[in-house]
């Protein structure tokens, strides 16, 4: 009964989305505002209907209504109530519904207030955004419906999944479900998938703005780009959180000692993040100087296309991944949708190139402008390298007949230098003036950080004589951190001259230039994340030893003693085999570590859960990889020393903090969108906000 209401709400939501798409296009074309207003209301109305659907699916998962095929698929008696709720996005039907729901929420949020600016964009904005929403809702209705039931035809062993009763079939309601994929039974399930989805779906907003601006020719002025910048920032921050949480999850659950494996699904998230980041920078130039317009618009289109592309390659099984989503009928429909999106957007972009002329020429190679161009190029180059590695299995299969997967070494070697260049640019670019920069002044500004970082890297290199490349990496990090800190110090000093105390000066500095100093904080976060990658690339140590009870293994300053092994039934239908070990540093007891191996009985799937002792300098990461069946005599442990990894998580927090500082809406004065944006006069050494 409840499921029927959910199904009806879903269908109504779909019809509303289709209606909004069609009517807004009509209204925009005929310039009849009442149609557009009707489309706007239909869009707003989509949200409550899809919400009803989502709530009912979630409730069915929670109460384990096994008459629904989706509930049987991802829920089970053994799962905790918390996991049953998260199962909403644990399988295909639920996650696509969740996706459509989030997207409709984003679109409605943009349309909530009647627009007093960019009004001409509204009709086609609705058309583009709601077409996408209608597409995803349509997939839920017609292809992967979470309200489908299981049916059984008497006399056969086959089960049919269908929304309506097939002829001759009787309903089949199992006693228990299969439950969520064990890898998904983790606390991370609450954070990583929803934030990632919010990031992916959020990019539809700037994309819809860009397309409607191109369609109406409004791309000539760049007011619209401010609005879409803000929405891009919203999507970007969620995607960033999703990336960090995903890395943390992999580190805690997958048990291979690292946090980033260049898996296709990870790359699928990284690529839109890269182009989205490039857009957020590029758009500053468009706002301030009326330049890089083609770049900015292309980057929006690319970001959105890449998030569709990522969804496509992973959801359809075209490129296999650890995130083994099953193959489905989604593929062909999705393919057509992606094809139309790519080609139509590009065609439109070329058609309207004349509206995207730059208002200024590049005046000097050493200027803020050229730094922005360079960063766009670097971001795009990294994206391309990642893209190539991701589709390489397909390419190689086409050419040679065998799937060749390129591993992490390719990605590390190919993106490492590009990332290094980008980080260097990140530190230096804020020193560049608009239009033209005198090299001598730049040299003076960068001198102290340069000397400081070289001395630091020299000392470090002298005391730790290994991996010469790491000296460079650590120098780079130190240099950039010092450059950023110097920016803060300069700003604070200037205010202190006016008699403010340092803390007040810092608060005022950040308060008055939130975009600028929030940006610096984001940059600091990026450098911290970079530290984790440097540790992973150069300094990770690893050993694997079989130990009898009471024996120890040693790695670096640490030693690990195997004390005991026990087996007990755990929650969520798993058998837990847990080792008790004692960790010593330089002979002194630090703490007890308990690496485990969980075995999910129903799914027959084992899972290796590491025990981690984190410190700012390094993590001790212990895995239980083997044991004797009888008597629990000896067990095999793999131990990693992961230096600097904690900085990655801290960096993630700092990055989010910086974004919040930069993006928090201005409280007092309303943003003067109605005014034509005043062109900023070139101010050497200022700007960057």
């Amino acid at each position: 009964m409840l499921a029927d209401i959910g199904l009806m709400a879903l269908v109504v939501g779909f019809i509303l989305a289709v209606y909004a798409t069609a009517v807004s296009a009509w209204g925009g074309w005929r310039q009849e505002w009442r149609w557009v207003e009707s489309a706007r209301r239909a869009t707003l109305l989509t949200v409550p209907f899809l919400t009803i659907s989502v709530v009912i699916v979630t409730y069915s998962l929670f109460v384990m209504d096994f008459s629904l095929a989706y509930v049987v698929d991802v829920s089970s008696q053994a799962m905790s109530p918390f996991l049953r709720l998260t199962a909403l996005w644990g399988g295909q039907s639920g996650s696509v519904l969740f996706w459509a729901w989030l997207m409709s929420g984003f679109v409605a949020a943009v349309l909530w207030r009647k627009w007093d600016r960019d009004r001409d964009l509204m009709p086609y904005f609705i058309t583009v955004a709601m077409l996408t929403t209608a597409f995803f809702t349509g997939i839920v209705v017609f292809i992967t419906n979470p309200f489908a039931r299981l049916w059984h035809i008497p006399g056969t062993t086959e089960l049919i999944t269908a929304v309506f009763q097939p002829t001759g079939a009787v309903p089949y309601i199992p006693q228990d479900g299969q439950g969520l994929n064990p890898l998904l039974r983790h606390f991370g399930m609450i954070g990583h998938p929803p934030t990632t989805y919010l990031g992916f779906t959020g990019f539809v907003i700037p994309y819809a703005f860009a397309i409607s601006a191109l369609l109406t020719g409004k791309s000539r002025s760049d007011e619209w780009i401010r609005t879409s910048r803000r929405w891009t920032l919203v999507a970007w921050i969620f995607l960033s959180i999703g990336l960090v949480l995903g890395g943390r999850w992999a580190y805690d659950v997958l048990g291979w000692g690292g946090f980033w494996a260049w898996d296709p699904v990870e790359n699928a998230m990284l690529m839109p993040w890269l182009t989205g980041t490039a857009f957020l920078h590029s758009v500053m130039m468009t706002e301030k100087r009326g330049m890089l317009k083609v770049w900015s618009v292309s980057l929006i289109i690319l970001t959105y296309s890449l998030s569709l592309f990522g969804t496509f390659i992973t959801r359809t099984g075209v490129i296999s991944s650890v995130h083994s989503f099953s193959k489905s009928a989604l593929g062909p429909v999705f393919f057509v949708f992606i094809g139309i999106t790519f080609v139509a957007s590009l065609w439109l972009l070329f058609k309207r190139l004349d509206t995207l002329k730059s208002e200024h020429e590049l005046e000097s190679f050493l200027s803020r402008e050229s730094a922005f161009v360079l960063q766009n190029v670097l971001f795009l180059a990294i994206t391309f390298v990642v893209f190539l590695g991701t589709v390489f299995p397909l390419l190689s299969e086409l050419v040679t007949g065998t799937k060749i997967t390129v591993g992490p070494p390719y990605f590390q070697k190919a993106t490492g230098p590009l990332f290094a260049a980008l980080v260097l640019l990140m530190g230096l670019a804020p020193l560049f003036a608009w239009r033209k920069q005198a090299a001598s002044r730049l040299g003076r500004a960068a001198l102290a950080p340069l000397v400081g970082s070289v001395v630091w890297a020299g000392i470090w290199g002298y005391t730790h004589r290994m991996h010469p490349a790491s000296y460079f990496a650590l120098w780079l990090v130190a240099f950039v951190v010092m450059l950023i800190l110097f920016e803060f110090i300069k700003g604070i000093q200037a205010r202190m001259k006016r008699g403010e105390n340092p803390l007040i000066a810092l608060a005022h500095l950040m308060g008055r230039n939130r975009r600028r100093y929030g940006g610096y904080i984001i940059h600091l976060g990026v450098v911290m994340i970079g530290l984790g990658f440097i540790g992973d690339a150069y300094f990770q140590q690893e050993t694997q030893v079989a130990l009898a009870q009471g024996e120890s293994l040693t790695l670096g300053a640490y030693s690990l003693r195997f004390d005991n092994l026990e087996m007990y039934p755990g929650s969520d239908g798993r058998e837990v085999l847990e080792a008790t070990t004692s960790l010593f540093k330089n002979g002194e007891f630090v703490r007890t570590l308990k690496p485990r191996r969980d075995f999910f009985v129903v799914q027959q799937q084992p899972m290796t859960i590491p025990a981690v002792y984190p410190t700012p300098a390094e993590d001790v990461y212990v895995l239980l990889v083997g044991w004797e069946e009888i008597g629990f005599g000896a067990s095999t442990f793999r131990m990693f020393l992961n230096p600097l990894i904690s900085w990655t998580w801290t960096g993630g927090f700092v990055l989010i903090l910086g974004t919040l500082i930069a993006a928090w809406p201005e409280g007092r004065k309303k943003r003067a969108y109605a005014l034509a944006p005043g062109r900023l006069q070139p101010q050497p050494g200022l700007g960057g906000d």
């Binding site: 359809t316 099984g317 075209v318 193959k327 790519f342 080609v343 208002e359 589709v391 390419l395 086409l398």
Partner: protein
């Protein structure tokens, strides 16, 4: 705005210049996009085209857990049953006793059974073989090459190869008596020069 302030002379110069550049970059970018779409489409067709179930059986060489090697094309004249399985797969356990019993029944008549262990760990796989007392040839599908060639979808799947090396169908899901016996009888009855 920029085009409003551009002098007429400049505009003419630009227009002569733009179409050429425009056409080349357009061509390159559209070429790239269409190439990518073609690649994705082809990948999709590959993924969705289902199991290979007719024509010549894709050839492969597999090494057993004991280290013996077998090549499918060397087995012309013999009926070959290729079974994909894994120790972590519950339905495989359902069919395991029936498979082994059928093998013991027909091995005298030259029927070859090849168990292909799909994405598994050796320890668990060997325990499984021991549990069901499996005596026919079994080896891991290293790099999932064989399952990829047969476009296998999941375990268990069983492919029937006739004496002349052609595929004569595939069973998706666990086998139940007497379907394997019937299929083998049918294939044994075929003439091979």
């Amino acid at each position: 705005m920029a085009d409003l302030v551009t002098k007429p002379g400049e505009l003419a110069g630009q227009e002569a210049d733009v179409p050429n550049r425009f056409r080349l970059s357009t061509l390159v970018i559209f070429g790239f996009v269409f190439g990518l779409l073609a690649l994705l489409g082809w990948g999709l067709v590959q993924v969705n085209s289902g199991q290979v179930d007719s024509g010549m059986a894709p050839d492969f060489t597999i090494t057993s857990f004991e280290g013996e090697t077998i090549t499918l094309s060397d087995l012309r004249g013999q009926v070959v049953i290729i079974n994909f399985w894994a120790s972590w797969c519950p339905p495989c356990r359902e069919e395991a006793p029936y498979l082994e019993a059928t093998w013991r029944k027909y091995q005298e008549q030259g029927v070859v059974f090849i168990g292909v262990d799909y994405v598994d760990t050796e320890k668990e796989a060997l325990a499984y073989i021991e549990e069901f007392d499996i005596t026919y040839f079994n080896g891991p599908d290293l790099g999932t090459r064989i399952s990829h060639d047969y476009r296998m979808d999941g375990v268990p799947e069983t492919y029937y190869v006739a004496k002349n090396g052609e595929l004569r169908g595939v069973k998706i899901g666990p086998l139940a008596p007497p379907e394997l016996d019937e299929k083998i009888e049918e294939l044994l009855a075929e003439q091979y020069p």
